[in-house]
Every structure is written in structure tokens, then in C-alpha cells.
Amino acid sequence: MSKEVTIDTSGIYYKELNEQINKIIKDNLDLELITLNNVLGQRFIGNGISKNNLTIVINGIPGGDLAMFMKGPRVEVYGNADHAPGNTLDEGKIIIHGSSGDATGHSMRGGSLYVQGSVGYRSGIHMKEYKGKTPVLIIGETAGDFLGEYMAGGIIINLNMQSEDTEFVKNSMLGTGIHGGVIYIRGKVNKSQLGVAADIKEFTKEDLEKITYYIEDYCNEFNYSDEIKNKLLNSNYTKIAPISSRPFKKLYTPDIR
């Protein structure tokens, strides 16, 4: 029984690596930390792991679908991540000290995913919430187009730390098909940058209250100074939310009257 395990993953195929991880978790009930060194493209790390009080530290670059279906653990990546980290995440926290690929946070239904750098296209697609479970995706720099597509719930915060909050962001097709949840973008957004079904709503005091905790937490995770934190908290945000929870209601008519 050990509390901490380290694996040098060089040259280990993803299947064997994940088998090893699962076995270690099974054999060590008190396990608190797994450190994976030299990770180079191994996919599916953390998939379907259901355990609280466990941290998985990844030194290197994990492959696609990192922590898919995961419930509980904290995953910390010191490096970039490939596409769809946090895919259908259930609970837990993923911290990426780098950037990540397309469909980051695909269909997250709970937990949080913080990316220090940028994310690819279609990130936060189809995130959804139910009762107490609200997924949160925070992106430090830029996000590719179609951010929050088909979003059905949860919170996306795109901090755009590479630019000033007075500038227009570069995204297009923001929130296409969104019918739940909310996207906060630090900076300005033109209506023409929105996808169908998305709308720009007033950023209110309640909204600021809602995101304050997450921004503070984000800054703590990445060790940002108070100065940066305050700058982020005092920035201008654009709030993007659905026009309705039934975007397709008016699209159809019964074939019998």
C-alpha cells in the first residue's frame, strides 16, 4: 500500500500504461498521487477513473481524450494536451499548464477544466448541466471558432489574457446552437461573431459574482499575482447566452396538421 506512485512512461503503449494505472489504483486503496513522467502522446489517461482524493500528475504531453468520463480525480498536466481533454467529464478537476486541442471539454457534464494557454476549435461543445452539476471550462488565452457550440449548460470563461479587454476578440461562430449555459468572454464581441441561437446579454453584477470564484481559483491554480487577478476581475466581459432553451421549436411543423 503506497500513497504515491511514480511511473516512467517512456516507451509504454497507452493500453499497457492505462492498465498499469488501473491496477495501481485497485491495489493501493490509500493512493493519493500518481506521477507520470515522460508522457508522450499516450491516449485515454484517466479514462473512466472513479475516485476522490487522487491526483494524477502528467509531465509531458498526453494524447487525446484525457480523463474522459472521469469522476473525481484531479489531473494536472505540465505540458500541452491533445484533442478533447475532459471529454464527457463527470466530476473532478483538470489543470493544463499549456494549450490543448480541438473539442476541449467536449460534452462535459460536471467538474472543471482550466487551460492556461489556448484551445482548439469546437471547445466546450455540448457541455450540459443537471441540477447541482455545472461544468466549468476556463481558457486563459484564445479559443478556436465554434466555442460552446450546442452548449446545453455550464460555464465557459475565455479570459483572452493575450489581449486587452477593450479589443474585439477573434472568435467566430460563438455558441452556435447554444440552448443552455453561458459563455463569458473577456473583451468585445460583435454580434456578427455569434452563431445562430446565441445572443449577447448584459453582463450584470450577478454575473461577476458568479465568475469571481472561478477566476480567483484559476489564478491560484496557475500562481498568478494579485495584480493579474484583480485585472481579470475588473475587466469587461461579454456575456453570451442562448436566445431560448428551445432553439428549434419554430423549425418544424407536424406533417398532419
Partner: protein, 510 residues
């Protein structure tokens, strides 16, 4: 002013001599097509979808639902339906929504295929006397079996024992090659799901959950359940995935190839919202593609990640709709670690689909089975995946023909619903199914008696299973394995040369 009235399709006629004014019909019709006034039953024909509930419940048989003879002039091109659709869309500017399967008059190839039987020289087998093997394993099969010999000491003697070295992929064990396909909780009621779950358990087979998650009341049937992961990822978490015996990735559906699904907010009740894990009353939208799948390689990645999440213990199926290049796609799927490919033909049912898709997109399942079976054999991949065929399978002969064409097993959907009372009225999307099937309205759901419906469905599967045994016996075959892909036992009738070629069949008489 342009008159915009669409003439009603059906006419509700009440025989006022027989009617005793009990008002039962008015209570039974969820569409408000019948009302009872003080001394008369009043009908609103334009609301009627001919679901037949009122007529079956009338204690005096006083109700007849007929096609409305007054739908304007008969015309071979501009049929009443064509005109009604134009009017409807000219009025609304909307996409026409429809339910159930393809309602156009396409050829049904099953009905142009006849079966073989034994006479004199090759005796038939009597299934009542001799065992008939219908057991079917769904999943990947190894190319070859390898054994190793280990020496063991038994009673002081050294004995060489052979042990299987080849790793066998997880397979589903079916007592009959008939399963119930995926119809989601949300599209249909919990009582329907429960009835079907009971039935498949009794019959030693499986049912699909559809993409709406799994209600906890069905957890006890998990050994007979195939969960589904679709583009909306509704209700999907690791608990759900582990609650089934297999997982199916839904790429497409025969009734609406190429598009996703929208469960209208009206049907997202409190319970449905719980299993789907979305707020009550919001639309449940499944996008057209999975946004983490843009290629066969991405599909392989999802297959593998589902396997990883369930520790490689469950078979993973991939369901696609039957389209022109179905063979190439199925072959790609076979190389992706998937264990079965489900092909859904264009006659497959649905809770809701744009009419233009339901009636025009996709190809018949019969030709798709042949094409896929042929291609997988050519490429040496047939053992890697099982083929499950679905979409318009109406009787045991259709099942038999599907297997002889190359399928391992079939999914039925509409047939199971008809067994539970569905009258194929095609208004499932309206959420008011008077038979308690395609609805979430509590008072309507209650109408479906679970035990009775379970009996009906298991009777149906049982009856078909018997018939398949008889057909096998008549063909002189005692195992379904020997029928699989055995197209030599089929002949085409009334088909042209190209059709015969596509199906891989000989002409009857040859």
C-alpha cells in the same frame, strides 16, 4: 385571401344509432379530436391521426376512422398528400416533421426473395425432434485459435493438456438472433422500456437503451441491455456505461441518415431530464456528427476510449445508417477495434424525423447487408465484426433472409412497438401517443400495462424464434451459423439482373 385550409386526412365517423354517449372516446383521444357535448359526440377530423385508440375502446363499436374521401380531386402526380404538404409548408414556412419509418412506396426486397427447402435427396430436419441451434455470439471473433500444451501431473502420470492461447474478445451471447433496437427513454415511455426489458430477459436476448440514458428502474436488467452513446452524449457517464452488456456508438439512424436528433422540450419531463442529465423542458439536441469524430481514425479513438473506460470488458458496436458507401464505412469500422457494426436501413422507424429525410434518404437494408458482408469478406475482415441488421424487419422470414444475406443478428423496433399496441399512426413526435408508448404524459403512460406488454413482446420474439427453427429445419440446416451468409439458399423473384447482382442472389429457377 388565399384559402389555406389543409383538408383533413381522416374522417371520424360516429354511428349515432349505436353510440350510447358514454364519452369514452373523448377521454381516450389525447389529440382532442373528439369531444362530448350534452347529447352528441363532436369530432374534429383535422386533429385525427388515425391512431385507432377511440375505435378500439368504444364499447359499442360505433367509431370508424376512414381516409377522408373529400381531399379534393384525385390526381396521379399532385396527390392529396403532395398538395397537403405544399399547403402546410406554404402556411408555416417550416420543415415537415414526421414519425415512424419511410412511408413511400419503395420496393421491399424481402418480398422478392424466396427461401429454399429440402426434398427427397437432402432430408429436412424436424425441429421438434432434433435440436436447432439458434445461439448467436455477437462480437469480434479471432482469425484462428492457438493452443499451447502444458504438462500436468494427474494421478502421478504426466499428461499433456491443451490450453487456449488466443485471447477471445468479449461477445454477447444470444439465445435467438433477434434483439430489440435502440429506442430512447424520452422518445418512448418508461413503461415501454420496462416491458421490453422484461421481454428480452425472458427471451435470452438484448435491447438497446437508445441515446437517452438508462432509468434506474432498468438497472436490474443490465445483463440484457446495450447502452448507447450518441452525439448528444445524454446520460453518459461511467456508471451508465457499466450498466450495459455492450455499448453502441450511434453515428446514424436509418430513418434520418446524416442528421442528428432533437427531442422536443415537451417530452423532457422531470424523469427524462434526470436520465438524460439535462434541465427539464429544454430541447435535447444531438448534433449531426459526433464532434470528436471527423474520420475513421477518430471513430477508432472513441471506440477505444469507451473500451478504456470499461476496461476492455464490453463489446462496442457502431451503428450507421445504410447509405451508398455503407460497405466502405463498415469496413473502416471493422478495422477500428469495434466488435459489431449495426446497419440501419432506410425503412427504420424513429420518434421524429424531417419527412424529407424519412422518405428519401438512405438505402434498403437488404442490399446494405449484402454489400457489407461482401466487402468485409473481400477484405478479410468479416471475422472482426458481427453484422446487426435493422430497419423494416417485419416477420421471421425477414430475419431469416437477413441472416442468409450475411447478417449475424437483427434489431427489431417497430415490430416490438406494434406488439405493445402501436398502430403506426406516425405521430410519435407529438408526445401524445394514445397507446402510452411514444409519450411522457403520465396519464397516457399508465395506459401501457407493463406485464401485458412484456408478454406480447416476448410472445412475438418466441414465435419468430420457433418459425426460424422450422425454416432452418426445412432447409436441412440445424444451426443458424450455417445459414449466415448462405445466399445460395435464397433466390430472387421479380428482380432485374442488376438487383440480383446487388443482392448477390440467383434468379428463382436457376
Amino acid at each position: 385571401m388565399i384559402p389555406s385550409t389543409v383538408p383533413p386526412k381522416y374522417k371520424i365517423t360516429i354511428d349515432h344509432d349505436k353510440c350510447i354517449l358514454c364519452g369514452r372516446c373523448a377521454k381516450e383521444c389525447a389529440w382532442d379530436a373528439i369531444r362530448k357535448s350534452k347529447d352528441k359526440i363532436i369530432t374534429y377530423d383535422n386533429r385525427c391521426g388515425s391512431c385507432f385508440r377511440c375505435a378500439s375502446m368504444c364499447p359499442r363499436d360505433a367509431i370508424t376512422i376512414i381516409e377522408n374521401p373529400s381531399q379534393g380531386r384525385k390526381h396521379p402526380v399532385w396527390t392529396p398528400e403532395a398538395r397537403q404538404d405544399v399547403l402546410n409548408q406554404a402556411n408555416s414556412g417550416c420543415i415537415l416533421l414526421s414519425g415512424m419509418g419511410n412511408a413511400k412506396d419503395y420496393p421491399i426486397y424481402y418480398d422478392n426473395i424466396v427461401l429454399d427447402a429440402c426434398q427427397v435427396t437432402n432430408p429436412s430436419i424436424d425441429p421438434l425432434r432434433e435440436p436447432m441451434e439458434l445461439r448467436t455470439y455477437i462480437g469480434s471473433k479471432p482469425e484462428k485459435l492457438e493452443f499451447e500444451y502444458v504438462e500436468e501431473e494427474i494421478d502421478g502420470k504426466k499428461v499433456k493438456k491443451s490450453k487456449l492461447k488466443t485471447k477471445i474478445a468479449p461477445n454477447l451471447k444470444l439465445d435467438t438472433p433477434i434483439m430489440i433496437g435502440h429506442m430512447s427513454y424520452g422518445a418512448i415511455s418508461l413503461n415501454s422500456h420496462k416491458a421490453m426489458a422484461k421481454a428480452v430477459k425472458r427471451c435470452g436476448t438484448f435491447m438497446g437503451t437508445g441515446e437517452g440514458g438508462l432509468h434506474r428502474d432498468l438497472y436490474e436488467y443490465s445483463d440484457n441491455i446495450i447502452t448507447q452513446v450518441a452525439s448528444g452524449r445524454f446520460g453518459v457517464n461511467s456508471e451508465y456505461l457499466s450498466k450495459g452488456a455492450a455499448i453502441e456508438i450511434k453515428i446514424g439512424q436509418g430513418a434520418k441518415p446524416g442528421i442528428g436528433g432533437h427531442l422536443p422540450g415537451e417530452k423532457v419531463s422531470a424523469e427524462v431530464s434526470m436520465t438524460r442529465m439535462i434541465p427539464e423542458g429544454s430541447d435535447a439536441i444531438s448534433p449531426a456528427p459526433h464532434h470528436d469524430i471527423y474520420s475513421i481514425e477518430d471513430l477508432a479513438q472513441l471506440v477505444r476510449s469507451l473500451k478504456e473506460a470499461t476496461r476492455w470488458k464490453l463489446p462496442v458496436f457502431v451503428k450507421i445508417s445504410a447509405v451508398h458507401n455503407v460497405a466502405a464505412i463498415a469496413n473502416g469500422i471493422a478495422t477500428s477495434d469495434a466488435d459489431a457494426v449495426v446497419i440501419d436501413g432506410f425503412k427504420g422507424g424513429t420518434g421524429a424525423a424531417p419527412k424529407v429525410f424519412r422518405d428519401n434518404v438512405g438505402i434498403p437494408i437488404e442490399v446494405a447487408i449484402s454489400a457489407v458482408d461482401d466487402r468485409l469478406r473481400e477484405q478479410g475482415n468479416r471475422n472482426k465484426v458481427s453484422i446487426i441488421a435493422s430497419g423494416g424487419i417485419r416477420n421471421s422470414a425477414d430475419v431469416f433472409k437477413s441472416i442468409a444475406l450475411g447478417a449475424d443478428a437483427v434489431y427489431i423496433g417497430t415490430a416490438a412497438m406494434i406488439a405493445m399496441g402501436c398502430t403506426v399512426c406516425g405521430r410519435c413526435y407529438g408526445g401524445k401517443c394514445c397507446w402510452g408508448i411514444a409519450t411522457q404524459r403520465a396519464d397516457l403512460v399508465e395506459r401501457l400495462e407493463i406485464e401485458e406488454a412484456a408478454d406480447r413482446v416476448s410472445n412475438l420474439i418466441g414465435a419468430w424464434t420457433h418459425e426460424i427453427k422450422e425454416l432452418l429445419g426445412a432447409a436441412g440446416i440445424n444451426s443458424i451459423e450455417s445459414l449466415r451468409g448462405n445466399r445460395d439458399r435464397l433466390r430472387g423473384i421479380g428482380l432485374n439482373e442488376v438487383e440480383l447482382k446487388a443482392l448477390g442472389l440467383k434468379q428463382a429457377g436457376l
